[in-house]
Amino acid sequence: MMLWHFVFWLSCAVAVVCSASLLFVRKPMHGAVYLTTAMCALALAFYLLGAPFIAMMQLILYVGAIMVLFVFVIMLSPLQETFPLQLQDRSLWPGLILLILMLLELGALLFGGLQVDPTTPQIIDSKAVGELLFGHYKLAVEAISTLLLAALVGVMYFARHLQRHQERKLPEQQEAK
């Protein structure tokens, strides 16, 4: 149990620190790497919380799919200017002050009066998840799959737009040459 605590809190700390470093990094690519690290750490945390299926999903979906998308976009986009956190910028202060107030409030809310019994984590395997997913939640699964389809169509549409733009641009460039 000691080991569990150690590994769990360590992975949480890694996730928080990596996320927080997003505030300071200069290049988007660095940010993507930090974010990937944070997600891997979170995947470990999920596993330790007794959710191996979600841990795998975290790795496959987030790290494998989403972050790859990020990296692609970063590589394709020409703009490199970044705006890391600078405390001299006064326009940031109200937002940060509000955030700190919110965190204080959350601390007060969570550790103020609530009493929760500590539990020992158990494995909730993918079979239970699958039964629930395709039993009780089958309608939601249908809805989510429709959403995915819509996203797919949308992306295809926009991608065609992008393509046409490039095609139109190419002849002009040739003429210019």
Binding site: G95, L98, L99, M102, E105
Partner: protein, 629 residues
């Protein structure tokens, strides 16, 4: 009486026609476009003729004891009901007769007088509306309807006085008439509100029944307000200033205003509500005082006038003053009597004066007239009848019987000797100015060119009837102390208007003699006065104090109008300019603009600001949860 019972139900349903026929006539004249101008005169005449015939039918059918007709239900709020209702009693009947018939004669006269004049159609529309308003006012059985008639007359007086609106001073005169009478209208309106507050009803009959139980203070307040309204409408002392200027309209309009409609409305109002006034004799006494004083004041002013129509205007103020004096001492039927007589001779004189002015080529100044008797015999005799009636020549003129009775009646009131003295002095001066006017116009040599003017029957007939009326109307009611002769009017009116207290014994006879003597002396003074004035070219008309009517009008200008204008200027610059325009209008505009800018900044199409607001909302929600737990 049997046939009276037969016709009564019919008349009962025709009461609405009395005020509505002229109103419909006015509507027709306005609505029907493109007729020849003469046709409008015919419509107007017919409309008033219908009213007059209805009134005559009432007389013939003998139905003068309170036929009431409810035309329709006007308002019905909870259990409070307001009808459009008409009622006629003996008093109303006499008054309606005067208004309708004298109005009809004036209409008839107008058809020739106004021919080829300016704005004939408009003139006839307003003339009809005027008579309709007066008849509505007379026959109304509740205060709202009465007030409606009252206001219609106010509107028409404004429109008709400024009939020749192309000249500034005529419009000014109309405005003056309207604004001055508006003071009275406001007072009357407040009085009606008080009536409603006290009695929860506006029906005259129910008010009269409930009045004795009401607190005296309230009754007094209502009476004072009604009195103010009557004073303004009838041009009594401080509020008389509009009437001499109201001569700017056509002479027939003056005749209508003075004889048949507006001016007499005040008298009618007080006599109508005499049940209330009887409850507060102290208030009523003030009516008498103001009336008697006005009678004297106006006759003094009339002496100093050179404009023929202004003389007549002041004479009206003076004669109405006598009526108010009679009202103030409880002689309501005497006031009505004098009103009828006055309507005859004043309509006659005003219409004649219109012709006279035409003849002297629109010159109003009697010093430039003279010698008309030889040219216009009929006009001269008619005017003489009117002038003598105004002067109240004993025995032969109607005014002698009505006016002297009033003077005698005032003697019975508190401080009666004082009131009667004012009246007698006024009577003396009345003789002077009335005959001075006649002599200046008709006798001697012509002092300016006389134009030919041929009067048709439409002019001669009304003048003849009215001349006859001014001479003979008095014979229906000889003085009470005379054992012989008819005493028809006062006893007949007694059930409605209560009996009149007249001085007993020697005092009454003395007053009668004094009154007669005053009139005769006044007439006798007038002759040498006129001769001297014609010879020297200077006379009473040159005395500025008299000519300006004791400078009351100028005093009013200094005391009322100038401070008011100054107040208006201050209000205009401070309230209107600064407060309303500067602060309220521009301020609100600026506030809206700035607020809109703030809101649009907040929206601002800046995503980071949206996020910031989102965080703020989130913080508030979590804060709420924290506090709740």
């Amino acid at each position: 009486m049997t046939d009276a019972l037969v016709t009564l139900p019919m008349m009962h349903h025709l009461l609405w026609l009395i005020p509505c026929a002229p109103l419909l006539g006015a509507l027709l004249i306005i609505a029907l476009d493109g007729l020849p101008t003469r046709a409008y005169g015919v419509i107007a005449n017919l409309a008033v003729l219908v009213s007059a015939l209805c009134v005559a039918l009432l007389w013939l059918s003998g139905s003068w004891d309170m036929p009431v007709q409810t035309a329709y239900e006007w308002m019905h709020i909870d259990n409070w009901l307001l009808d459009v209702g008409f009622r006629v009693d003996r008093f109303t009947l006499v008054m309606a007769s005067v208004s309708a018939w004298v109005g009809l004669l004036i209409h008839l006269f107008s058809t020739q007088y106004m021919r080829h004049d300016f704005g004939e159609r408009r003139y006839f529309a307003y003339l009809n509306l005027f008579v309709g308003g007066m008849l509505l006012f007379i026959t109304a059985d509740n205060l709202i309807l009465l007030y409606a008639g009252w206001e219609i007359m106010g509107l028409c007086s404004y429109a008709l006085v400024s009939h020749y609106y192309t000249k500034d001073e005529n419009v000014y005169a109309g405005r003056k008439a309207f604004v001055t009478t508006r003071i009275g209208d406001t007072a009357l309106a407040i009085g009606i509100f008080l009536c409603f507050m006290q009695f929860q009803s506006l029906n005259l009959e129910s008010i009269f029944q409930a009045a004795p139980q009401a607190p005296t203070g309230m009754i007094a307040a209502i009476c004072i307000l009604f009195m103010l309204g009557a004073f303004a409408k009838s041009a009594q002392f401080p509020l008389h200033v509009w009437l001499p200027d109201a001569m700017a309209g056509p002479s027939t309009v003056s005749a209508l205003i003075h004889a048949a409609t507006m001016i007499t409305a005040g008298v009618y109002l007080i006599a109508r509500t005499h049940v209330l006034f009887d409850l507060v004799p102290d208030v009523r006494w003030w009516v008498a005082l103001v009336g008697a004083f006005t009678a004297l004041y106006a006759s003094v002013s009339a002496i100093g006038q050179n404009d023929i129509k202004r003389i007549l205007a002041y004479s009206t103020i003076s004669q109405i003053g006598y009526m108010f004096a009679a009202l103030g001492v409880g002689g309501y039927s005497l006031a009505l009597f004098h009103l009828a007589v006055h309507a005859c001779f004043k309509a006659l004189m005003f219409m004649s004066s219109g012709v006279i002015i035409e003849i002297y080529h629109h010159d109003h100044d009697i010093r430039n007239m003279g010698g008309l008797h030889k040219q216009q015999k009929f006009l001269s005799f008619a005017y003489l009848a009117g002038s003598l009636a105004l002067a109240a020549l004993p025995l032969v003129t109607a005014s002698f019987y009505s006016k002297d009775a009033i003077i005698a009646a005032t003697y019975t009131a508190d401080h009666g000797a004082f009131l009667a003295g004012l009246g007698l002095l006024g009577a003396l001066l009345t003789g002077v100015y009335s005959m001075r006017m006649y002599f200046m116009v008709f006798t001697g040599k012509a002092r300016s060119e006389i134009h030919d003017y041929k009067m048709t029957w439409a002019m001669k007939l009304p003048l003849g009837i009215l001349a006859l009326g001014s001479l003979c109307l008095g014979f229906i009611q000889l003085p009470d102390s005379w054992s012989f002769g008819p005493h028809l009017l006062l006893p007949w009116l007694e059930p409605v208007l209560t009996s009149v207290a007249l001085p007993e014994g020697h005092a009454g006879e003395m007053l009668e003699l004094l009154g007669a003597a005053a009139a005769v002396i006044g007439i006798l003074i007038a002759w040498p006065l006129t001769k001297a004035e014609v010879r020297s070219g200077r006379g009473v008309g040159n005395i500025g104090f008299l000519n300006k009517a004791l400078y009351i009008d100028d005093l009013a200008k200094v005391l009322v109008i100038r401070p008011f204008l100054a107040l208006c200027a201050v209000l205009g610059s401070v309230i209107d300019g600064l407060l309303l325009n500067g602060v309220l209008v521009a301020g609100v505009r600026r506030l809206m603009l700035n607020a809109a800018e703030v809101v649009s900044r907040g929206q601002g199409a800046l995503v980071s600001r949206y996020v910031l607001l989102m965080v703020l909302g989130l913080m508030l929600i979590i804060g709420y949860l924290t506090v709740q737990l």
